[in-house]
Symmetry: C2
């Protein structure tokens, strides 16, 4: 535990400022990505192609932020040669940036599917699955970023657990859509767009889980990638 907050006690005030700066910028980028996911979901639900186009445009900013903040991470590594928890912090931020950027890509794909579905004339049936899973994963994005901001590993664990719930919801939604397609083959092209959008949202959940894993790594120094929830919980509860 004593190492955990060491990056707040540097001899160099300037170094502290630099670390705080990349943290803040990453969280701002995260806020933007969360908004992209929510906007893409709304665009899909209301077949709002204007909003969908905005999401696609917004992805350019997400990409630019990733490159810019990651460059700052590299500069800090080169100039400050951080060790221990500072090194973990910078490396975690660099990896989280990559997950955020990919979430942005997925939001953009949802927006693209919204546009295509609109062109196809929409769907006679409502697509509540998109609303439901979209809201769910947007909440996970927010949770994973809050967990990072507060070094809150219990919240990080909750986010990872949510991902299992999303995967189940996704499976149920897909089966229902397949049934719908089979019953009314004229809807095949439209339902496919719903499926692509759902798949993208499900991946946003995967990336939120990745961020949660980075938070646990950051705080506990233990790698929890590719372990199951039970092992992850044991790591989080480990007091050593």
């Amino acid at each position: 535990m004593k190492e955990k907050n060491s990056h707040t006690h540097h001899i160099s005030q300037q170094f502290n400022t630099e670390l705080d700066d990349i943290k803040t910028r990453m969280l701002e980028m995260g806020g933007l990505v969360e908004k992209q996911v929510a906007d893409a979901t709304n665009a899909f639900m209301s077949l709002d192609t204007g909003l969908a186009e905005e999401v696609k445009k917004g992805d350019k900013l997400v990409n630019a932020l990733e490159v810019s903040i990651d460059e700052d991470c590299t500069i800090i590594l080169a100039r400050r040669q951080p060790a221990a928890s500072d090194l973990r912090l910078v490396l975690s931020i660099s990896k989280i940036l990559s997950d955020l950027e990919r979430m942005g890509d997925e939001a953009s794909k949802v927006a693209e599917s919204a546009i295509k579905l609109t062109e196809l004339g929409g769907l006679p049936r409502s697509v509540l699955e998109i609303r439901h899973i979209g809201d769910h994963v947007a909440g996970m994005v927010r949770g994973s970023l809050d967990a990072f901001a507060r070094f809150d590993i219990d919240l990080a664990l909750e986010v990872a657990e949510e991902d299992k719930a999303v995967d189940l919801e996704y499976g149920t939604a897909m089966r229902s859509l397949v049934t719908y397609m089979i019953e009314d083959p004229r809807t095949i092209s439209s339902v496919l767009q719903v499926m692509w959008a759902l798949r993208s949202l499900e991946r946003v959940g995967d990336h939120a889980r990745n961020i949660a894993e980075h938070v646990i790594y950051l705080v506990k120094g233990a790698n929890v990638r590719h372990v199951n929830i039970e092992e992850m919980a044991a790591t989080v509860q480990d007091q050593s």
Copy 2:
């Protein structure tokens, strides 16, 4: 250019060995991932569930390698505090590991689709698109790793260009599958498995392009993420 091979001229022979070691291990992991992609493609084409199960099992090794090699990267950053091109090398390897790991996930998804398609009784129509795009992206994986091994930015650019070709092939294949589905709705569930597998293979191509971008960054020090092929070619050809 003078900086490019500086990591081969260290005062510390031990440091050289460490850098060579993570490079070698990453390339070995890359070879395994390439094999996973090829095996998943073959399993899908021949509905070989035994081979598909092997691919799914093999993904655990891919995941373990990612964690292990990435830990070595962190240790090198902490102990050696590399600068300039050495720092870029270690950071690039860390990022390439992440792309390789995700390619492994996609290969595993292709294997899963192969199993599901087999359970559904296969498809009356051959799925040559899987063979074609599978071979194409496996070649891209190999090309991106060769480009890394030889610091060959021209080859890296070729890989990035191939990705555009794969995206076009993917679009054509998907349209043809939608048509097939509409003409024979009884095949919907089976064709969906082909679509998921194709989508996964297309993503393998995206990750190979990412690796190519990391190679260009490594050699030229210029970030070519999120730029179009023309800008990327200009960076590669820039003699400065």
